[in-house]
C-alpha cells in the first residue's frame, strides 16, 4: 500500500519534470535526426501546459505560512462561534422569581 502510494507520488513528481524531454532533445541531437524540432515543440508545449496548470491552481496566491495562519484563524472562528451558539441556546435568560 505504502509502496504503491510512493510510486504514484513519484509518478506525479516525474510528471512535472522537464528533464526527460531535454534528454530526448539531446538524444536527437546526438543522432542528428530530424525529430529535434518535434522534441523542442514537445518541450515548449509541456512548459505551456505547466504554466496553465499553475495559473489554475487554487490557494497559491499567498505563501504557505500565510495560508496556515488563515487556516488557524478560521478554525478558531468556527470553534468560538460553536461555543457561543451552544452557550446561548442553553442559557435560561428568564429567572423565575421565587414566590414570597
Amino acid at each position: 500500500m505504502m509502496a504503491t502510494a510512493q510510486t504514484t507520488q513519484e509518478k506525479e513528481n516525474e510528471d512535472w519534470s522537464l528533464l526527460p524531454l531535454v534528454h530526448d532533445i539531446i538524444k536527437c541531437m546526438d543522432k542528428d535526426s530530424q525529430d529535434v524540432h518535434q522534441e523542442l515543440a514537445k518541450l515548449k508545449s509541456k512548459i505551456q501546459e505547466a504554466r496553465e496548470q499553475i495559473s489554475n491552481m487554487p490557494g497559491i496566491d499567498c505563501s504557505p505560512q500565510e495560508q496556515q495562519q488563515q487556516l488557524c484563524t478560521l478554525r478558531e472562528q468556527v470553534r468560538t462561534k460553536n461555543q457561543l451558539l451552544h452557550k446561548y441556546k442553553g442559557l435560561c435568560m428568564f429567572d423565575v422569581p421565587k414566590a414570597s
Partner: protein, 256 residues
Amino acid sequence: MHFSDLCKTSAPHASCSLIHLFVLYKSSTAKTSDQWRNTRQTEPLFSVFQILEVLVQRDREFQELMAVAQSQGKLHEEMQRLEKEVEKRDSDIQQLQKQLKEAEHILATAVYQAKEKLKSIDKARKGSVLSEELIKYAHRISASNAVCAPLNWVPGDPRRPYPTDLEMRSGMLGLMANLPSNGVNGHLPGDALAAGRLPDVLTPHYPWQSSDVSVGMLPPHHGSDLGLEPPGHNKENEEDVENMSTDSSSSSSDSD
C-alpha cells in the same frame, strides 16, 4: 564524486542519463576534433556540466514547488470548507438574534400592558362605587326603554327609544308653545293634540293597547297603561336617556 553526487541528489534517471550522454557525446567528438585535444577541452565540458547541474537543480526546485502548490491546494479546500461552516454559524447566530429580538418585543408589550392594567386597577380601587348605586342608576336609565325594547314590543309599534313627535308635542314644551297662539299650527292633529283630544279616525289602534283605552287619550308614555314604568321618573329618565343614548340609529326606526 561530482557525478555521483548529482546522480544521488537530483531527480532521477533522466538526470544521470543526461550527464552520461553528454560525457559520451563530448568524448566522442573530442576524439575526432583537434580543438578538443587542447587544454580547452575540459572547459566546454565543465561549462556543460555546470549548465546541466543548474538544469537539474532547477528541475528539482520546480518539482518541490509543485508539491508545495499541491499541498496548498488541499489546504485551500480545507479553508473553503471552514469558511462554509463559519457562514452557517453566522446565519444561525443571526436567526437566534432575530428570535431574541422578537421575544424581547413581545415581552416589552406584555409588560407595558400589565403595567397599564395595574394602573387601571389602582384607579378603580381609588374611585370605587357601590354595586347598589350602579344597579339603581342602571334601572333609572333603562326604565324608559331607551336601552332595550319593551317586552311586548312588536314590529309596527310606534314606540321608540327616543321621544317621538307625538310625545314631544304632548309634553310640557309642546303645550307651552301652543298655548299663546291657537291655530298657528294648521294641522288638525296638532290642534287636536293641543286641545288634548284626537279624533276617532286618527286615533291609532295598536295591538298592544287594551280594549278599554279611551278614544281621546293621549299616549305621552305608552307604557303607563300597562304599568311598566314606575311613577315620577319621566323627566329624569328622559334627561338620562338623552344623555345616555343620543344615537338615533336604532334598529326599530326602519321597521315600519
